[in-house]
């Protein structure tokens, strides 16, 4: 009975979110949404401008969220950002590089970079730009370090599922004196990033990346849906606490 109830609640949430997303996209077709300012994304845009002007490189590290696990969502959000950043830097001299700690994710990053390269004037795609650097947490970090230090990188974006090993990447980026924006869905990694990165994104800010780099109308609608669902959760928690206090539950 409990499983059935949980299943129904889950189905209800997905149905509600789908309806809200569809409705919001239809409503907002003619108006552009306004978001609160997240300084990290403003600085990212400036850093991307510098990448193009200086002829330096952008590095996006997508973490090691395997696609068949719930952690894949953060990696998929990272791929959306990678696609958009690849398009934005397409006027630059050097194509961006992407590193990851999961093989399927590496293949997707190659595909994303290939699509991004079609927007560039040169149109050249480098198959070694999307890389698998290691399959264990620390081998992944160790493999990504040379990319940060030796490949003329001026902007690092670390976005996806990381563990504590992200501290090594953040430290290398800091030593290379590059701009670093970092986000993870993992709590421990968020604490590490808060201490070691110039621009950490906390919690669901990771999933807002697409909306802030104009990846499409559904990204903007997603943010509103998340806000509506968050308020619903707050109401449910408060009502639940009240019912518990009064002894009804």
């Amino acid at each position: 009975m409990n499983d059935l109830l949980l299943g129904l609640v889950g189905f209800g949430i997905i149905f509600l979110s789908t309806a809200l997303l569809g409705g919001l996209v239809a409503l907002r077709r003619k108006s552009s949404p306004v978001f609160r300012e997240i300084p990290a994304f403003t600085r990212l845009r400036q850093a991307i401008g510098r990448v193009v002007e200086d002829g330096t490189r952008l590095h996006v590290s997508l973490g090691r969220g395997a696609l068949a696990t719930p952690q894949s969502a953060s990696a998929l959000a990272g791929l959306v950002l990678l696609r958009r950043l690849a398009e934005l830097t397409s006027a630059g001299d050097q194509p961006p590089i992407a590193t990851s700690g999961d093989a399927a994710l590496a293949i997707l990053s190659q595909d994303t970079l290939q699509t991004g390269s079609q927007a560039s004037a040169q149109g050249a795609y480098d198959p070694t730009a999307g890389r698998l650097t290691g399959l264990t947490p620390f081998s992944y970090a160790a493999g990504a370090l040379p990319a940060i230090c030796d490949e003329n990188i001026s902007t690092n974006v670390l976005i996806g599922n990381f563990g504590v090993e992200v501290g090594l990447l953040a430290e290398a980026a800091e030593r290379a004196n590059t701009f670093t924006l970092a986000a993870s869905d993992n709590l421990t990694a968020q604490a590490v990033l808060f201490a070691s990165v110039q621009e950490p994104l906390i919690g669901e800010e990771l999933y807002a990346a697409g909306a802030y780099v104009d990846a499409g109308p559904l990204h903007a609608a997603s943010l509103t849906v998340q806000d509506i669902l968050r308020w619903l959760i707050i109401v449910v928690i408060l009502v639940g606490a009240l019912l518990k206090l009064t002894g009804i539950l």
């Binding site: 969502a73 959000a77 093989a103 070694t128 709590l187 669901e204 697409g210 997603s222």
Partner: protein, 220 residues
Amino acid sequence: MKFKGVLPTVIAIAFGILVLAGYFFGHNADGTLSLLGELQLIILNVAVILAGFAVLVGICNLLLVHTKKIRDKQKGARYSSILIITLVVTFLLGLLAHYIPTAASLFSDAFKFIQLPIETSLMALLVVTLTYASIRLLRRHLNLLSVIFLITAWLILVGMAPWPFLGDVPFLSDTLRPIIAQIPATAGARGILLGVALGTLTTGLRILFGSDRPYGGKNG
């Protein structure tokens, strides 16, 4: 949209919806798997097999990247040659491990005596890195949040550490640390996790809508 872009999108959306539906309607009333449940199981099994092949493709990519480094005489090419040699040796040992007992023992020793110590050393290095990062935190972001972060981290560390001659720190170890860990820290962590769950939900829906297409074609 060209046919080349439409086909993967249609396949991805169809399979995504089938797997999602399998979670809600995967069982019959008597608890047995329904047709949707069986389909979901088959699709997930195929995904696992494909992920295995993806590892092989990923390793080929790793070889390609490091071969290019050696060929172009880039910085760190020496390390690339060491990586390729060890990769080939370990791969061969892994293949032979089923037939030759010595190869099996060497294969497991390579993991136990090379990879494990190196990864443990990196973990130890991380401790120094994080301590240094914490010291620099106030220089980078001098605000209330950073001060609270550092004070909380310091209180928890001092409260958890086994102090010589003293053991636990009175009040801090038995009262303050559990209060910090169980009330504000747990509440904050749950809040962040709820936000992450909502973000995960909308990301999944965007992929089902075909708006985010990490498998090729432009995002819409």
